[in-house]
């Protein structure tokens, strides 16, 4: 039962990864008793399961995910929201208003208008239906301030780090609130624009070097240096 790759080797779609009693994990598929790669990425095996960490992919909705989306259209009883996925999401008016929705009393575009950004949770999604969003939880709803940045969705786990080590470090150093949408959209809200830009810079560095080890230490370094620079500027 041979394996045809080294740990963390860059593989292309269609590359034979393993033969024999192996299971096809993420971004791989099984044909007979052979496991092939589906996407370009880094191959890895845990026990009998072969995985590929994709370097390029798009977001597929999953119930329970926190996402950040843009309202694209105001409908009769809700909004359509672009969540950077193959499917557009729906947000129902009654969910936002927290009471039954009456078209004669409520003007939907005054609650949320096209172009507004929202933090929402995927309430339901399956193959046959477009994803439904909900904002009826603390921390969800319309975004009023902060900056938005985009990250490849597959790299969100790396930005979070082991048990959230990476993200909490950035939050602490910059004093910013950071909301990571699983769909690759990130909201950074800080006291000053400089703080926000520092946090964005750190996240961009994580995205560019996501596959390397010892990244957490380098991010600590970066944050320290940049903060010192900011202090200097203030003192001048």
């Amino acid at each position: 039962m041979p394996v045809f790759f080294e740990k963390k080797q860059l593989v292309t779609p269609g590359e034979l990864l393993a033969e024999g009693e192996y299971l096809a994990g993420e971004n791989t598929y099984l044909e007979g008793n052979k496991v092939y790669a589906q996407r370009i990425g880094l191959a890895d095996a845990e026990n009998k399961k072969v995985n590929v960490v994709a370097l390029r992919a798009f977001y597929v909705p999953k119930p329970g995910d926190i996402v950040i989306g843009t309202v694209t259209e105001v409908g009769f009883n809700g909004w359509t929201v672009d969540i950077k996925s193959p499917y557009t999401a729906l947000l129902r008016a009654s969910d936002v208003l927290n009471r039954p929705f009456k078209p004669q009393n409520d003007e939907l575009s005054q609650v949320l208008n096209a172009g507004d950004l929202i933090v929402a949770k995927i309430a339901s999604y399956d193959r046959a239906h477009d994803p439904q969003l909900t904002v009826s939880e603390p921390g969800l709803g319309k975004i009023t301030r902060g900056q938005i940045m985009h990250v490849t969705p597959t790299k969100i786990p790396r930005v979070i780090g082991k048990k959230g080590s990476m993200i909490s470090q950035i939050k602490q150093a910059t004093g910013c609130q950071i909301i990571l949408g699983v769909n690759g959209v990130v909201l950074v809200t800080g006291k000053t624009t400089e703080d926000e830009e520092l946090a964005i810079m750190a996240i961009e560095k994580i995205e560019a070097e996501s596959h390397t080890t010892g990244l957490t230490d380098r991010i600590t370094q970066l944050l320290k240096e940049e903060k010192a620079k900011l202090e200097e500027k203030k003192n001048e």
Binding site: L10, G14, R56, H211
Partner: protein, 249 residues
């Protein structure tokens, strides 16, 4: 434009452009050339220059074209007015409509279309300069662009043609050979699965000649596949190199 040679292949077996019978034209591939597209690729195959942009997967527009059980692949093969000697009308010609379909059908088996139902991708193939064998070059580049868009694939698809000129079976015909030659056999292949996704024949060949041409094209595909994989890797190579350094440290 190259002048029409009197003989397509001389006694020594050298062709009018200096190649041997089983020699490919020089090939150059690049991935991720269009930042606005979700995936893109550029191919230079001999004098062919082709640009491919892939958009999606996204919601199908118009909506009635979407399929409830599978993703739809839409493909547009288009030749620029300046891609050939005589100005080509930019309106889609009969040939372009046919090639769009042929290329789409060559790519479709490689994509896991049933994973993302109700969505669609658009593959735009723009031929900037044509010199024979554009359908094969288009398939090679389009498959790379689809992989670059992050879509799950069974394997990359490679296209390559073989044909017959002056009673000799040769690999990878260019424009003059295609027009003056006796036959042309374009083939598209998924090399790792050893599956043919496109097989056409234009002209007349005996069964044995056909077999040699097919085998020759398959060998050509496999050669191109190596370059194709390398091109896809090159975009993410920085990733790999940095990783190596880390391991050595």
């Amino acid at each position: 434009m190259s002048e029409k040679p009197e003989k397509l292949i001389d006694k020594k077996g050298i062709r009018s452009d200096g190649r041997k019978a089983d020699e490919l034209r020089p090939l150059k591939l690049e991935v991720g050339v269009l930042p606005n597209a979700d995936g893109s690729a550029y191919i230079e195959h001999g004098k062919n220059k082709i640009l491919v942009g892939v958009f999606g997967p996204r919601e199908m527009h118009p909506k009635h074209l979407s399929q409830s059980d599978r993703m739809v692949i839409r493909c547009r093969y288009h030749m620029a007015p300046f891609s050939v000697q005589e100005r080509k009308s930019p309106a889609p010609s009969r040939r372009e409509v046919e090639l769009s379909k042929v290329v789409r059908e060559a790519l479709e088996p490689s994509v896991f279309v049933d994973l993302y139902p109700r969505s669609g991708i658009d593959v735009y193939i723009e031929v900037l300069q044509a010199d024979g064998g554009t359908r094969c070059a288009s398939i090679t580049a389009a498959s790379l662009a689809i992989a670059d868009a992050g879509l799950p694939l069974r394997d990359l698809v490679v296209g390559c043609a073989a044909g017959k000129i002056d009673d000799t079976v040769v690999l990878d015909l260019y424009d003059a050979e295609d027009k003056l030659g006796a036959a042309d056999v374009p083939v598209a292949l998924m090399p790792n699965l050893n599956a043919v996704t496109l097989l056409q024949m234009d002209g007349i060949l005996t069964p044995t000649e056909f077999e040699t041409a097919l085998n020759m094209a398959v060998e050509g595909c496999k050669k191109i596949y190596v370059i194709q994989k390398e091109a896809l890797r090159a975009k993410y190579m920085t990733a790999k190199e940095e990783l190596k350094e880390e391991v050595e440290e």
